[in-house]
Symmetry: C2
Subunit: 200 residues, 2 copies
């Protein structure tokens, strides 16, 4: 608690506020309150709102990248890996709320801010999945597929649904249990669609 560095507390609070309100809507006062410090102290550590935002964006983006760099090498089969991935994405984004909407919204004007991390992540994940695909093909588990298209298919199906979920469930006035059922159905459907496409 008290041994958590103040700088970290502020950054954490900033991330929460920025993800909730966006770059423009976020308030330095709200960040200070959330972190339990004075407004002036934020400027002491981070100089300006702009620089704080950059740090928060970096951090939020890294969190997302780490999700995709999960240790999936431990899964035994491609089928199992696919199930684990879908499940993990759902759990993460349900917990993290608007982080993906936030990133896709704020990054559009500032591609450079994440260009390097994105490319690195892309290389690592790309080659990791490509290797997994090769192994599975050799074992005769799946047919030969394109790694890029496969990843894009998976992420599209997972992430778009999770991004739209608040709108869908609010507009259709789903109760909490209905939402849970919806998610479970969706996970099954995504797995079904992807697996029957690639399995041998």
């Amino acid at each position: 608690m008290t041994d958590t560095k103040v700088e970290e507390k502020i950054l954490k609070a900033a991330k929460k506020e920025f993800v909730a309100k966006g770059r423009g809507g976020a308030r330095m006062q709200a960040i200070a309150d959330e972190a339990g410090v004075n407004k002036a102290l934020i400027h002491y550590y981070f100089r300006s709102k702009d620089q704080l935002f950059q740090r928060a964006l970096d951090s939020a983006f890294s969190e997302l990248m780490n999700l995709f760099l999960l240790d999936i090498t431990k899964t035994n089969s491609f089928k199992e890996m696919l199930m684990v991935l879908i499940d993990t994405h759902c759990k993460f984004f349900i917990q993290k709320g608007n982080i993906l909407n936030f990133l896709l919204w704020e990054i559009r004007n500032d591609h450079d801010a994440v260009k390097e991390s994105f490319r690195r992540m892309f290389d690592v994940v790309g080659s990791l999945v490509a290797r997994k695909i090769n192994e599975a093909v050799k074992k005769g588990e799946i047919r030969r597929i394109d790694a890029f298209e496969f990843i894009l298919n998976l992420l599209s199906l997972d992430l778009f649904f999770l991004m739209s979920l608040p709108v869908i469930s609010s507009a259709l006035e789903f109760a909490d249990e209905q939402v849970e059922i919806l998610i479970e159905n969706r996970k099954r459907e995504i797995f079904r669609l992807l697996w029957q496409d690639i399995k041998k």
Copy 2:
């Protein structure tokens, strides 16, 4: 030109500014400049930034809804319909830029603003597609499928890709021609994945 109502000119300019900068980042002055009128005139017509935003959001949302209400009843086969839909979505969002990112971002705090339109659209599109499915099933063109899951699959694959395209192509430093090839490949892949799943 001059016979375009001023109110409409302002609304159009507002939509452009809000979609580009978001609710918080948009500036009344920028809207006035874009519309070629005075700042005070915006208040005369729309009272406040807040009310202008609501109108702009409504209008942007309607545009999107209209896209999904396309006259697809004219297409002869389910296969043809699917191809037309994928193509239309791509064309629309490449032209309209960040409209989807904007909506998914801004609506998260204000579901009520679009609840009714969304539900109406959902009902209309849902029953339209369900009817199309029934016809195609009877003709033996496709297997029996769930309309909700099918629509979600289609929109996920289409829209997530288009939302992420700016980030992807910037981070991977794709040239314009490469982006075009990417899109064409993606269209083929989406159609392939969906069609082989449902065709009989």
